[in-house]
Amino acid sequence: MARRTKIHVGLEIGTSKTCFVVGEVKPDTAVRILGIGTTKTAGVRKGEIYDFPQARACLRDALVKAEDASDVEIGSVFLAVTGSHIHGVNNRGTFRLPEGQSIVEADHVEEAKTIARDVHIPADHVHLHPIIRNYLLDGLYQNTSPTGLYGRTVEADFHIVHGIGARIQNSIRLVRETPLEVDDVVFSPIATAQMALNQEQRERGALVIDVGGGTTDYALYIDGSIAASGCIPVGGDHVTNDIHLVTGLPFSTAEKLKIAEGDASADPSRSVGIAKLDDDRGYAEVEVRRSILNEVIRQRLEETLRLVRQRLPEGAVETLGSGVFLTGGTSLMRGFSELAFEIFGRDIYRPEPPDVSGVQTSFKDPRYATAIGLIRYAQILETERPVHDGCISRVLRLFWPFHR
């Protein structure tokens, strides 16, 4: 079927930066990044907005930058949300065929899916994504719908992401006020995984960890389908805050020190001497013993990764064939891959910090992984969606943004 070139916009309102990525999806499904608009965020903590006016100002600023850079008027966006209130759970729906019927019909599969989707979530939570993982027919795994096969019990495995409705609605409201339309709301790690992993890596098993400013999001893929996802409300901000608390340096200096001198590997050879920062006039502004600085950083990140590992299903890490993919701004920390290897014991992939700035390199920049992933996500949605449904579902989504 012939598709036109479409432009999608991904928006991530992160703890440290608000970032628009404008991407063009060509008819041959190739993606080209037209422009990126990014600005430092204020008013967001641990992935959740706590100061609306500030966040709104940042959003507008980023929007203008993105429109300038890409020369596109942005009308609607795919929004990535995160926060510790969002959880991913797996649920299996079982449907026994009625007596006297032995062929699975589409209705039966639908019923199994309905049961699987109907995971009981707290009253104030809403579903973000119900993602089908696989089907089982009488205990046998089926990758596709078992309609038409003989069997007795149909089961559907779902991964369901849900979060507190009010908080998600608030993020949406913020974007609507800008005013922009929200095409879809996507849980950040799922968007990141679209960017970070290809199909083969998902088949072999992979874990994506997005260590951002305020949160650490993770998504685990096993056998090609998502097996776990979630968010830990700890990120780069915490590292800065730890440095501030331990050394007593102001935040801005602590942040600079972290970026310039921090190292997360436990390598003692990197913890020798004193880390210094010079101010504008060339005087030493700060002097901190590297051993302390690195230890503070390492303990924080180690704890965070251990929390991620704890939350994964039992034995999942051992089955990862591809390994662990780190993204997010904090993953640029020196020695982070050594630390991650220590904890997960699998291959660690970490994007290198880009040496040249510019649109081309931002593809590689882990800081934009989520926003670029959103474009991929949009593209996948586009291919899955029937061609004709355009404006109706858009109108529908206007009223119910969680519909997909």
Partner: protein
Amino acid sequence: MIPYQRDRQQTIPSSSVKIVGLGGAGANMLERVALDGTEGAELLALNTDARTLAACVAGEKIQLGRNLTKGLGAGGDPDLGHQAILESEEEIRLSLRGRRIVFLCVGLGGGTGSGAAPIITRIAREEGAFVVVFATMPFGFEGRRRREQAESCLNELAVLSNALVTFDNNRMGELVLAKQGIHEAFSAADRMICESIKAVIRLVIRPGLINVGLDDLMSALRTNRSRCLFGSGLAKGKDRAAAALRNALASPLLDQGALLKDAETVLVHLCGGEDLTLYEVELLMQRLQKFVPDSAHVLFGAAIDPAMGEGLSVTLISALPEDALAAAPRDSVDPEEKSFLDPSESFTTAAAAEPSATEPAVTEPEPDAPAARPSPEPLSLAAGPTSLEVAAADIPRLFGDDLPFAESTGDPQPNTTAPPETDPPTAKPAPKFPPAAKPEPEPPLPEASEFPEAKIGPFTFKPAQRSPSAPRLWGKTAPHKQEPPTGDPFEDDLETGSATPTPEPPATDSPAPTKLKLGVKPSSSQNELALDSAPRGRFEGQTPNVVDGEDLDLPPFLRKKK
């Protein structure tokens, strides 16, 4: 605080429960029951075969037909079993006397089981007990003759017993995988029966938060000519509510819940540890709705049993009219069972006594509820008076020797600086409600230092802090906490502070502003955890980010040093 004793009369003491195993199969079931432990219920083994009887673990054994069979079995002849039990009738009657509920486990088809079961049921009923019969039907390959014997006995039992639960050995295959050993199959069947017995015992013995008693059990089973549907599931850990229900529905008697769709009355009983949440109950009932018709009468009961630990057990009991049963093709192997329930005189009195006895159970949770909502330990308080007692006893221990902390934070906990047990009169406010608590603490005010426990009132029921009387009370107690110089401004501050609805404290002129702020701030969450008043830098003033008891907003570097 006065420990509030529940009225135990509504429940049946476990000593008045007797589990009777009859014949060889009954002895096996009894063994399983004994192995799993049964909260003090007595076990009685009956058999004609002296050797099997000797090997049985039951505490009480009666050999049937000593003179008739001379210690041998009944040889598959029900008539012989019948005569044998008549010989020992008096002995059995004596043993069953005074029991409120009797479980009879029997394998039908053989001599002793088929011959003696109706007689024992009759004896037990005559002694005024509620009789629940768990009967297994013989395998198909055991032949027609045996099957017929079993069925005729089952018909008798259906008339005689209060409730009849049958398990068809032909369905044993559903319990275990095909390749598992025969031993496993039998023990799985025994285990299922044992679980059922234990579930019924739990149901009638445990005083419930929402009580179900024998009366409910009766009405769940009160369908003439019916078969009992029974499912019991136990699960632990995450998602235990769903897992427990799944296990309960997996019972071969329920056929994955498919049989429940014709049920008229369904009794659901939940029993969980102290961490059972309303949410879990809601979840479970919601799932169950899928299997139960809308018109069905659902009798719901819930109980808290500390012995359950982290487990959650679900028991489903229902009865299916026989005509509905015939429609279900999978049950075609089953015999036509009849259960005619006619509660004997003696039992109806017991059942009639139930409703009045349940009343306290219904009203009981109410005093807990308001106290539990704003209190720092909603769970333990909601769990009932006994745990309330424990909670209050624990907290003073935590804070009692920690006065400096109490002084600096100014949050509600320090009010319990002394153990409440020391002064009986001060315990009075406990059962009352917040407004009533106000006048109590005022008299001891002059010698407040001697009677700090007077403040147990406002502590136990935190709403007092929000009631109009609270600020004053709070202010007056503050000075005695060794802050004479700042006494007055502090008091004023606190008054205005707690009078305004915002949880943010005023803490303007107080000597330890940051600490005070920390102490009062997270009033929405459990402020008792705010023990360490370390600064949080950027995350100051936010709800604590606690995972596994560690505050993630504090540097691990500092946390691990401690």
